[in-house]
Subunit: 541 residues, 2 copies
């Protein structure tokens, strides 16, 4: 027997059309660099995204499958790119504006970007990138600051000008690429993950379920997570799909600025890393009192939110919902939510449940694998490498050959995280992936730093581990062994590293010891170093 | 650029595994014929559904794509069939137990059912079907009554006995057929709609969104809508996916019985036709007072729920959420929900919004088409034929050639409903499809009745239209013209029809006139008849 169902491909174009027809007057609000608020609507977003698509095809000769990059803050024009670039049949490549010029140049070349849309305020970074590129994409500049676009640059408004109501979306398969993010990952260069129309729409549908993000037409959503970071939890797609009001903070990420938006725009849902939550909690605790329109759900991912943070924000009407995911998982992997059987627990115990990384989303499978390759029991204590599988999980990386260190022989993504899963399927990340430091929600690779430090002529060997920081959660500590007779200082090393790393990646903390402890097989014993420096607090300002 | 996403097919098997692993202890409650409550869990549902799958493959030789039927009330064993039959690679064919033996025989033959699982209490119907079948499927009997299975029949428990933890799901494409329902449609014979794994999973994902059904792990769901009727809004799939407790009323559909379950099982979500809502409201109004655990969301579809009903139930803490759909649409087409801009309206005006058929679900497109084939404006007043399109909408019927009366040339389902759509996309069914009578949520085809009545030797011509009934909403009125010299009565006609229709389809109301009004092209002017008999109330008991 054959199914009689229509074969309609999933497409982000359908989400844009839905918002434009059903939620045409619903607001999209963006904070500009001068802190003023720009207000538009889904009706206009649809209209302008179609204009962008038409311009890409007709003015820039963009062809299906071409990569088109953005180097932008969170704002309405970036949302237009989220839809307008795929609407041209092209691939939205969101470039992380916190990368070093070298890394930006690398990812632009890796994606083969044919055009890039740059916020005017990001031109200083972009102009350091250009000399590093063999092939420079066409540049279109968005006047985010409100100032005229600098001479010599093509203005985004001019580029998209015209009427596109006659624009016809190109024929498209649902497995066609729609967007690309680069991981700021573990070892070596950033790696490209390429999403499809299918994966993005499935992800949007799943994320709106009540137990997950529960995004609704009645929500006012403050998108704090950067849109260049794992699609901002793909909220730009799902909130548009359901017609939620979206509010973008632009470059203003300070606690009081975010709280002003939460009050003024009657926010009911927001998302960010624990660093942001912590900052918000500290501002709230310092006062003055804030008046929210109602309870606020706050999706938190990227690092563990401690119970004290969850409880603290509860007291101010901001309720953390813990999620786990990564660039490779679109990023929704799991969400922690209380179940009916948790009703008997007191608030503190419930917060412990909420602090878990939670239950896998529908369509996402999880397992934990021990070092021998066997599946670990779901007993809440046995830990193993977390592996995941599903229609919005990557099965490889752009331009890279299959790697059994990344994708298992039977097709599961090896996350590198070490986790436990309890008998009812609630996952907890037990150990941070050992070689990474998470600073303000962004990964810093200790291996890259180590390799660079060890390139210094006066250094014998070096290891980099995470130490605590009150604002950024973690910062890198360089533990180095001087070569005999050398008296190199931390400042010397910092200066030596500076040209090769973004500012926020540069370590401010250095320790010198006689020898790095090693395992029998000669590997650094980083857990030994972590134990040794456990009480150290980073002095990063 | 190619997407790097995994190619993981959508499958109902994944929903079953999810519930079995994550919600193993969550309850599934069924009311038996003797009104006692049977309690099981998703852990057991998973275990037994796999046993059923293994038995179908190994004991009954069922092959991928074979149809396996159910003739069952709503209960846990039927839920096992919802998952176990697809888990065998077979197609779940839910047979409407309110059909006449002739129609049951027709749909069983049309599907080519190779095996049928029958509730023991439905054997009297089934035994009237068997003589009408050329090929009789293997029969397995579920002892729903609690009595031993009658001699000569294969017992469901014996059939599924054994351990199936080693059972491996057959390889499957997401477009493979998973389930089949027959419409009890407009003209002629019931028509088969065949769902796919893909359509069913997409439908489940979409329906759990907050603005639609919002089904959650915290919900206790009373499934009143029959599981043989458009998959009971596919709630058996979506509630299982999220681990909601499910409660099945079995054959006990009286208001007090349903309210007992709503109280005792702490129901938070339920679904049914307006007839059921009306009945519940009347019982509540008559008292005694009921104490619910909290507010109850009630999904209503199948016919229009009047504002008075919505407001009446609001007063008792039962909040209607109006949906529109049909067997052909899986069935979720649209849901009416208030939006932020409706907050300024008073409760009465909000109820009017809630009484609309609402906003199309994500992934479902709607349009209204005038008689000339042009698209009507979305102005809330211009009406046209409602046409829909999407990945869980049928593009044809099983065993039937393409029909431009059913599917438009450009691939949209022609619903036969006449609707308006307002400027923000809210749809309202303006005119019931002209040739149907909706009695207690079930369609009765006026054309079939007319054809039968006109077969009576004393009848010249006849038309059948709907008239009002306080409980069943609508009942058929036969308007007939006697042949000259004949004095046939309504009772005579009823007796003449009885062998050919189910009891509930038989008209109790008859009127005799001199001539049926006709249009210039010779068609019956039914709207003229409806006007003429507008005040008539059916005397069906």
């Amino acid at each position: 027997m054959q199914s009689t169902m229509m074969r309609v491909p999933l497409s982000t174009n359908a989400l844009l059309e839905r918002a434009g027809r059903y939620f045409a007057t619903r607001e999209v609000v963006s904070r500009r660099p001068d802190k003023s608020l720009h207000r538009t609507t889904y009706g206009d977003i649809r209209r302008r995204a179609r204009q962008l698509a038409k311009a890409l095809v007709e003015r820039a000769g963009i062809r299906p499958g071409d990569a088109v990059a953005t180097l932008q803050w969170n704002h309405a024009a970036h949302l237009e790119c989220y839809f307008g670039i795929p609407a041209a049949g092209a691939v939205l490549h969101t470039v992380n504006l916190r990368l070093s010029p070298e890394d930006v140049a690398y990812v632009v070349a890796d994606a083969g970007d044919r055009l890039i849309i740059v916020d005017d305020v990001m031109l200083p970074l972009w102009e350091r990138v250009v000399p590093l590129l063999e092939v420079v994409p066409r540049v279109v500049v968005h006047a985010f600051s409100g100032q005229p676009v600098p001479a010599g640059y093509e203005d985004y408004e001019t580029f998209i000008a015209g009427n596109a109501e006659d624009y016809v979306y190109p024929a498209q398969d649902e497995n066609d690429a729609v967007a690309m993010c680069h991981t700021s990952g573990t070892t070596g260069r950033p790696k490209g993950v390429v999403y499809s129309h299918r994966s993005m729409v499935l992800h949007a549908l799943a994320s709106c379920a009540s137990d997950l993000f529960g995004t609704s037409a009645s929500d006012n959503v403050l998108v704090i997570t950067p849109m260049f970071h794992a699609n901002a939890w793909a909220m730009p797609y799902s909130a548009t799909m359901v017609g939620a009001k979206m509010v973008f903070p632009g470059p203003h990420m300070a606690g009081p600025d975010l709280l002003d938006l939460m009050e003024g725009e009657r926010i009911s849902l927001t998302l960010g890393v624990p660093t942001i939550c912590n900052m918000i909690l500290q501002v709230l605790q310092a006062g003055p009192a804030r008046t929210f329109a109602g309870p606020i759900r706050m999706l938190v991912g990227g690092a563990a939110a401690p119970v004290s943070l969850i409880r603290g924000l509860d007291g101010f009407g901001i309720h953390i919902r813990h999620a786990w995911g990564m660039t490779e998982t679109s990023p929704l992997g799991s969400v922690s939510y209380t179940r009916p059987e948790d009703a008997v627990l007191d608030a503190e115990e419930q917060a412990k449940v909420r602090a878990l990384q939670g239950t896998a989303s529908p369509m996402v499978e999880m397992r934990i694998i021990d070092e021998a390759g066997a599946e670990c029991p779901w007993d809440g204590t046995t830990s193993g490498e977390l592996q995941v599988r599903g229609p919005w999980i990557t099965g490889g990386y752009h331009n890279l050959p299959p790697d059994p260190e990344k994708i298992s022989a039977d097709g599961w993504l090896r996350t590198g995280d070490v986790a436990t899963i309890d008998p009812i399927g609630r996952m907890r990340i037990a150990d941070r992936t050992k070689d990474l430091i998470k600073s303000g929600g962004e990964w810093i690779s200790s291996v890259e730093l180590e390799n660079a430090v060890m390139g210094h002529p006066a250094i014998a060997e070096a290891a980099v581990v995470a130490i605590a920081h009150p604002k950024w959660d973690e910062r890198p500590l360089v533990v180095a062994v001087r070569k005999p007779g050398c008296d190199v200082t931390g400042d010397d090393i910092r200066q030596y590293l500076a040209p090769h790393f973004a500012r926020w990646q540069l370590p401010d903390d250095y320790a010198f010891i006689d020898a790095i402890p090693r395992s029998s097989t000669g590997k650094f014993l980083k857990h030994e170093l972590r134990r040794q420096f456990a009480d150290m607090i980073s002095r990063t300002p």
